[in-house]
Structure formats: structure tokens, C-alpha cells
Amino acid sequence: MSLVDLAAQNLLSPMVLFFALGLAAALARSDLTVPEAVAKTLALYLMLSIGFKGGVEVAANGITLRMIGVMGVGIVLSFALPVIGFLILRAVSGLSTVDAAAVAAHYGSISIVTFIAATEIVRGQNLPFEGYIVAVAAVMETPAILSALLLARSGQPSRNGNEGLGPLLHEVGLNGSVVMLVGSFLIGWATGPKGLQMIAPFIVDPFRGVLCLFLLDMGLVAGRGMREGARHLSAPVLGFGIVMPLISAALATLAIWPLGLSLGGAALFVTLAASASYIAVPAAMRLALPEAKPAIYLTLSLGVTFPFNLSLGIPLYLALAGLVAE
């Protein structure tokens, strides 16, 4: 299937259309909302499901050297991408050191919903993928935060003072979404296919439909963010929200080349690198770099990069992956 066909087909999937519905409703100032308690639970559900299924596949296939290699590459990328992002932002945008570091952190980390959307697209093409990619997603969440903190401090005298790095690492590492993803992965691993069979009617069958509802909600939140936050984004920053994922994707494609991942697995890995966090990293930034403006990083990650990845990015990353995958 050609890239154009794939993109067209993706744009007409219920997932993308529900996101677009949410976006349109928010931009038109409709009062449609998904209650916060439900939005939080849908996110937990998606992480439970994707983590569990990943763990079950690792249980079926065992740990391989390749798995360790891919995780290592993922960690390195998560550390490195914020540095690249930071340098670009400092060069082309007028953002302060702290704002640039905070934005860069989001692009080094990953978005689990972007990842999930990509698994659906990959599955729609009947491409299998390595189950441990979920574990790669988990290990890529936090290194970027550390990178960003070092970058932020490079620019200013240390006044983070009274709150040390220890409590921060605790709060980030035991962040609810990380615990849910990793915990479900381990449980899936421990219980294997037999466990999956028991709860499949809950975590497998309705998964895509739940994803649609969650994407509707993300569209609503993204649209609201765009309405409020757009004036905080200069043209160079907006451009960064599209260009940076492409740079990350290109680097990830090169980095993954020698590892011999399947086409599906490579596409997912590239997607992870190209995705920008919108749950774990914003919360960490409010703690670690409270001076950084959330209107900038939240609007950019959720209002620019996420829609781009969901609609055009993922098909592109699948094509990129085709260049290097087995």
C-alpha cells in the first residue's frame, strides 16, 4: 500500500475522525466534555491493556538480546533527543532556557496514546510486532526529563534549591501512568496467554472503541488548548512541533537499522521517538521547572504534534520503517 493510500485510509479511520470531532467541537465552543474522572480512567484502561498484552507476548517469546538492544537504543534516544530539541529551540525561537528545556523534555519522552494509535494502524496492515516494544515505551518515558533538567540548569544558577532531585525522581518514577504501564506489563508477563484469555473480553475486544472515546476527549482538550494557548506559540515554535518529530523519526530509523526489528516493531519504535509526552512530562515539569510556561509545552505537544502524528506522522513513520526493517 502506498504512503498516500495509507495516509488517506488512516484519515478516514474512526480513531482519527473522533479526534477530529473533539477538536472541531472545542474550536466551535461546544460544551461537549468528557468528565475528568472518566478521562483518567480511560487512560488507565489503555495502559492496563497495552501493558498487559505486551507482557503476554514477552511471556510467549522470552527475553532476547535484541530486546535488550532496542531498550538500550530507546534510552539513549530519550536522553539525546532533548539536547537536540533544546539546541534547535534556542537557535530559532525566542524561548528562554527554561522554556526551551521544558519543551525539549516532552519530545525526548513518549506519548503512549500515539503509540497505541500506531499499534492499531500497524495491526490494520496485518503486520506483527515485538511485544516488548511496550517495555521500550516505558523506559523511554523518563530519561528525557533528566536531560531537560540538566539543560535548564546550564542556563541559570541553581535555584531549584530547596527541593532535591531525589523526591523528584521518586515522583516521576512512581507516576501513576508509569506504574500502571509497567505493572500491567509485569502481570501480563507473569500470567501469560492463560491470563490474557481470562480478561480478553475486557482488555482486547472493546479496546478500539474505548480508544475512540479517549481520542474524542483528547480532541476536546487539544482544541481547548489551541483556543487558549495559540497566542503563546510563535511561528518558529509551531514549526518545531512538526519538524522535531521528523528529526526524531529520522534518527530513530537510523539507530534501529542494525537491530533487525520487524516492520511493525520498527514502525512503532520510530513512532515512539517521534511522539511527544502529554501526561507524565507536563506533570514533572510543573514540579521540576515551575517557571516554564505550561501554555507553551502543553499546547505544542497536544495541539500541534499529537494531531500531526495521529493523522500524517504515523503513516510516514511506517514508510520510514520500511526502509530499514527486516
Binding site: 475528568e36 476527549d217 476536546l220 487558549e228 502529554y278 501526561i279 510543573r286 501554555a295
Partner: protein
């Protein structure tokens, strides 16, 4: 009924900083506090709403703390240490309570 004067501190603060704020209140040895959810608001940092949020950044909480007038200043200092760096506001008002020893 006989009543006794106390101070009521009301803090609106972003959710990610809540745990730190409560730790500070503990450190200031207040006898208690109550956390109430906020739904939406506007301030210098713009509009926010918790509707539809799956994460914690972007949500706000309201913390109410009744304290003795004599201990207002040390409590305010702890509170201020958090709120000064984070998104939030602090107001203080006079209240009466029935059981003075409870606070």
C-alpha cells in the same frame, strides 16, 4: 454559644504542587486542612479547566486551613514558599470556631 477567633487560609494551587504544599502545612504543624477540588478558573496564567484531563498538569485544587492567629505567620511562610514558585493564590480571613482546643 461561645466562639473563639481563628484564621482561615484558603489556597488555590496547581495539583502537581499539592503534595508539597501539604507537606509544608504538616511541617508548620497545623492541626488540619481540607482539600476541595476546583473545576475551572482564570488568573494571570490564563484560563484552565480540569474537564477531560487525563493527567495532573493543568488541574487546580483548593486547600482550606484553619489555624490559630498566633501561628498565622509561620504557616503563611511555609505556604508562600510553595505558592510563590507555582501557579496559585492565597487569601486569609477571620473566622470563629466553637471548640478552641481543636485547632
Amino acid at each position: 454559644m461561645q466562639t473563639h477567633p481563628k484564621k482561615r487560609i484558603e489556597i488555590v494551587v496547581e495539583y502537581p504542587a499539592l503534595r508539597r504544599l501539604l507537606d509544608r502545612l504538616d511541617r508548620a504543624q497545623v492541626t488540619g486542612y481540607t482539600v476541595v477540588p476546583a473545576l475551572a478558573g482564570r488568573g494571570h496564567d490564563g484560563l484552565w479547566s480540569s474537564e477531560g484531563l487525563a493527567g495532573d498538569a493543568g488541574r487546580m485544587m483548593m486547600v482550606i486551613c484553619i489555624t490559630d492567629p498566633a501561628r498565622l505567620d509561620p504557616v503563611l511562610e511555609e505556604v508562600y514558599a510553595v505558592v510563590a514558585r507555582h501557579i496559585g493564590i492565597v487569601t486569609i480571613s477571620d473566622v470563629q470556631v466553637i471548640r478552641s482546643d481543636h485547632f
